[in-house]
């Protein structure tokens, strides 16, 4: 699977882009990614609303795909689901940003 993480927003407004092949991830996170990719769309929707009046938070556009499936999720750091947050945090910490 290929995971692509586009992050925008934040106080600085600096966009980042990371693309990673899941063969470089620990098996536990590969399973997390696969579950998210195959899950019903409704289960990956943001879990909470963005707090009214908030500003300078990060926004994410995340795609997880393999040869047959593709899931795209748009969320932000307030409403990102826990599993996805775990996955993204690991990827951001360990991967070299391409943009």
């Amino acid at each position: 699977m290929i995971i692509r993480v586009e992050r925008s927003g934040g106080f600085a407004g600096l966009p980042t882009l990371i693309e990673i092949d899941t063969k470089h991830l620990p098996s536990k996170l590969v399973n997390v990614a696969k579950e998210i990719m195959l899950a019903e769309k409704s289960s990956t929707l943001p879990i909470t609303k963005t707090p009214k009046g908030s500003g300078d938070y990060y926004s994410y556009k995340i795609s997880i795909q393999d040869a047959r499936n593709r899931r795209i999720i748009e969320c932000n750091e307030f409403n990102i689901q826990d599993d996805l947050k775990l996955l993204i945090k690991y990827i951001e910490r360990t991967s070299k940003k391409v943009g």
Partner: protein
């Protein structure tokens, strides 16, 4: 006759909103506000409903976030600082409260001092009592997350990361960053500009404007002495740049192999259409930022005296949730005329500033 018609018209409206409320709104606004401050619980609730309804009838913005602060009014600065201890759970551990000993490290001290400076600016210049005009406590959390390259306002408090040391230093370092975040709170309680598209870019711009003014006020700088930079000193020494944004020359704050080039436009012809960053709120804010810079520097003196006042009154009284750049331009022009006279130097300067960023004023004749 006029009284009866008003009473009847308002009563009909009040039936639909208040489910049978019998009160006719002849009570003036100032009296309702006094009741809110001093009445019984039931009287306060009714007075707030009256205020909200009259605001609606006058076509003004809905008053937001009122009920939670309904019974607490303070005229004093009140700050609390929390330490998230590098986790992402808020607010964290309380490390300093208002008037308490200056414990904690540099981040704690900076967030405490700079939120105080922001309160002082809004109070002394615009007679505004904190974010919500009612003495709302200013809450900040420092050491949020690990190497967190950001600061944000979450609708309730400010949150600051330490930076990773490679691109960013700690986000409490710059007074204008603190002023910027707190101003998101002010906007939330006033125009409540939606955080997307041009309304979102205006939201960002007002935060940059008043963040910069907080800094200028603290340093006693006139417009010619101000640097008009946002986040100067925030970037690490490894990065080629002077700040995150320039209000004077949008697009020139940084140009670095790692983080790229400052993408801000300074004119509508360079407006960036994007779906990222909630429609480019941190990008296109460069256009209204420059309009403010041009207004302030043309008028001279201290930026908060006239330009800041025009912008503040516009934010507080005139803008609405989905106002766009054109609307903001028209309204700042009108407010300038109201404050300083139609056709005067101030109004002409506002018109010229917006024209220079590609927006022609359009007003009703």
């Amino acid at each position: 006759m006029h009284f009866e018609n008003n009473c009847t018209g308002v009563y009909k409206r009040s039936q639909s909103l208040n489910h049978g409320n019998q009160i006719c709104f002849i009570i003036p606004e100032y009296m309702n506000k006094k009741i809110v401050e001093r009445g019984s619980k039931k009287q306060k609730e009714q007075a707030w409903k009256n205020l909200i309804l009259t605001e609606q009838l006058r076509g003004r913005r809905l008053v937001t976030g009122l009920m939670s602060s309904m019974f607490s009014v303070s005229n004093k600065l009140n700050r609390t600082i929390f330490d998230a201890e590098h986790k992402e759970s808020l607010p964290g551990t309380l490390v300093r409260h208002e008037g308490g000993r200056p414990t904690g490290g540099t981040d704690v001290r900076e967030s405490y001092d700079y939120s105080g400076a922001t309160y002082k600016f809004f109070k002394e210049i615009f007679d505004r009592n904190s974010i919500d005009t009612r003495g709302m406590r200013l809450e900040s959390t420092v050491h949020y997350g690990e190497d967190y390259n950001n600061a944000f306002w979450n609708g309730t408090q400010m949150v600051y990361g330490d930076g990773d040391g490679k691109i960013f230093q700690r986000f409490t370092k710059c007074i204008d960053v603190v002023g910027h975040e707190l101003t998101h709170g002010v906007t939330q309680y006033e125009a409540a500009l939606v955080y997307e598209g041009q309304a979102g870019a205006l939201n960002e711009s007002f935060s940059d404007v008043f963040g910069s003014l907080v800094k200028q006020y603290a340093l006693n700088q006139t417009v010619d002495k101000a640097d008009w930079l946002i986040g100067a000193g925030l970037l690490s020494r490894n990065v080629k740049g002077v700040a995150l944004r320039s209000m004077k020359h949008p697009g020139t704050a940084y140009d670095d192999p790692t983080i790229g080039k400052d993408p801000q436009p300074g004119h509508m012809k360079d407006y960036v259409n994007t779906s990222n960053d909630n429609g480019g709120v941190h990008i296109n804010s460069g256009i209204p930022n420059r309009a403010f810079y041009l207004t302030a520097t043309e008028l001279g003196g201290y930026s908060w005296e006239k330009a800041g006042k025009i912008w503040y009154i516009t934010l507080r009284d005139r803008l609405s949730e989905r106002s766009d750049f054109q609307r903001a331009a028209n309204l700042t022009f009108e407010v300038a005329g109201s404050l300083y006279g139609k056709g005067g130097q101030e109004q002409n300067t506002v018109q010229k500033a917006w024209d220079q960023v590609g927006i022609k004023i359009k007003t009703k004749k």
